[in-house]
Symmetry: C2
Subunit: 373 residues, 2 copies
Amino acid sequence: MAASAPASDPRFGPDRRVTLGQPLKLDGGASLDGVEIAYETYGTLNADGSNAIMLCHATTGDQYVASRHPITGKPGWWARTVGPGKPIDTDRYLVICANVLGSCMGTTGPASLAPDGAPYGLRFPVITIRDMVRAHIALLDHLGIERLHAVIGGSMGGMQALSLAAHWPERVARVMVIAATAAMPAQNIAFQEVGRQAIMADPDWQGGAYYNTGRAPDAGLAVARMAAHITYLSEESMHAKFGRRLQDRAAKTFGFDADFEVESYLRHQGATFTGRFDANAYLYITKAMSYFDLAEDHGGRLADMFAGSKARFCLVSFDSDWLYPTPESRKIAHALNAAGAPVSFVELSAPFGHDSFLLDVPELDRVIAGFVG
Amino acid sequence: MAASAPASDPRFGPDRRVTLGQPLKLDGGASLDGVEIAYETYGTLNADGSNAIMLCHATTGDQYVASRHPITGKPGWWARTVGPGKPIDTDRYLVICANVLGSCMGTTGPASLAPDGAPYGLRFPVITIRDMVRAHIALLDHLGIERLHAVIGGSMGGMQALSLAAHWPERVARVMVIAATAAMPAQNIAFQEVGRQAIMADPDWQGGAYYNTGRAPDAGLAVARMAAHITYLSEESMHAKFGRRLQDRAAKTFGFDADFEVESYLRHQGATFTGRFDANAYLYITKAMSYFDLAEDHGGRLADMFAGSKARFCLVSFDSDWLYPTPESRKIAHALNAAGAPVSFVELSAPFGHDSFLLDVPELDRVIAGFVG
């Protein structure tokens, strides 16, 4: 057992919480007191504290990487990748994953209580991806981890990994960015805006002050999820999975039921999502993504963002991902090359679209295991 | 002036209506009495009635092809293509365009009055693309046109053109299908379902019985339009048109206003659409599109659908159209080849995505003019 983290150390293990002793200063100018961070760790920190890997979750993900989700009862979102003997081997590494700032699985967000005892709602400050990473850095300080062996993330998790590497270069040795971008493209901003508008159009949203009213904008949130879900899949995978097959019926109904399997599947995705996610959190997190433009404060010169980095980078894209397509990763690779940073970049062939990073893609396992070392 | 259509013939001209004397029998088994069809004609029918071209409009289009829209005041949707001396030359051809069955610009649809004097609402029968074409054929009968020189349509208009060619092969000599498909792909069904769910999630929809209540599901319809609008554009065109530019401001607001031009543009698209379109009509028309599978009744063998056709076909796709991409047109071309039908097929390079068929693409003008002859 590592000296720095005895088995009894209450900072490590499943379902942990920490309340920050210092206010969290945010990009928007506001400052948050008493931020709580909900996180999990797997594995054991070694004696010199050099084997920690931080995983950053995607938009609607959470800290339950490799343990059963407390609401849905489903396995963790990366259980296939993280565990003893797996590509991210918890026999060798301490794995950390924190629910992001602004979310709803225990970390402070719009559903949390403000200092006045009532939920923040829209009084919660609009945050950025860097603000999420600020909370991650505070967590690392709490855990006594000076430098991560690696930070790894897919989609919005990849943006956090990039932000950490750019703004806290001394805190990480390896950076893996999967199916992400350094600046949210216009089309993705558009899709995210549709989702936000769907939520805000729901009268039960009530300007964000729906907590304790017995109503919530579930209908709007379900529509937002449905629209987003389409963008996570590839046309090919939808065709293969559903095609034009009818749902449990021999013929079209000539009504507005879900005739097709794909309609029924989408409705199910929307309906189940509302049981585990807060609509305001969805607004804040997608807004942070829409705002994401890593090089913005450096005159748009992405290479400059990595000037201070000594980390090794690994970028992965998927050929069927039309939400964060390969050119987005290539731009980052070019910037890292220009900055003289060691970088490997691979486009993997996988049929599942953007969701490929969460699904059975053995080649991704090999790339991760190889890069983690 | 043609003998068959004197200048005074009230069947021809702008803003015409006809009420069908026969019930319209529908694919779903229902039958509609007293169907009204709103249409426009441009140009003059020649002596032997051989110079008529029917244009079929897209999802939310209408009969105002080349005349000012009565609600928006904007030029007709294909004013750049249809008129004296234009690619579809109204000095030489009689051009006909009818508002489709189920729509809301004068042709019978869910907002129309049922025989009991109250609006149909959801009592309106679910229709198909072929039902829309049935109404077109009834209009041709009314106009005394036995055989069209050509039928031309883009997007949902292309599906009508295909349906007309397949089911009424004796009624048309030339068939032009632009940016369409012979069977709605799963991804498009999914996007259409999101739009329908957005409308039906709006409490003001009231199960479709919102007419005369002083409320309408404008918020849901706007979200549906926003989601659909993204699919009409290409990622490249959105990037070129908006990128990450902010809307009339120097910095992000750190609020939920529309910070970005693309957000503002989408909100505008949604908001203006509700002023000219009926939400129930949107439900019915998108359902008809989702149902569209031309070969379904022939065991899926598309080639069989064109066995009785003597028409010439022209298929056009656009390289930036990801909603009805080139492979959809290629499938139709292969089927027509297998059926021994004369067919030309061209993929045009244009940056505007699916909407390219409505925009300034000179090469499309040349293809149309050449095919119309």
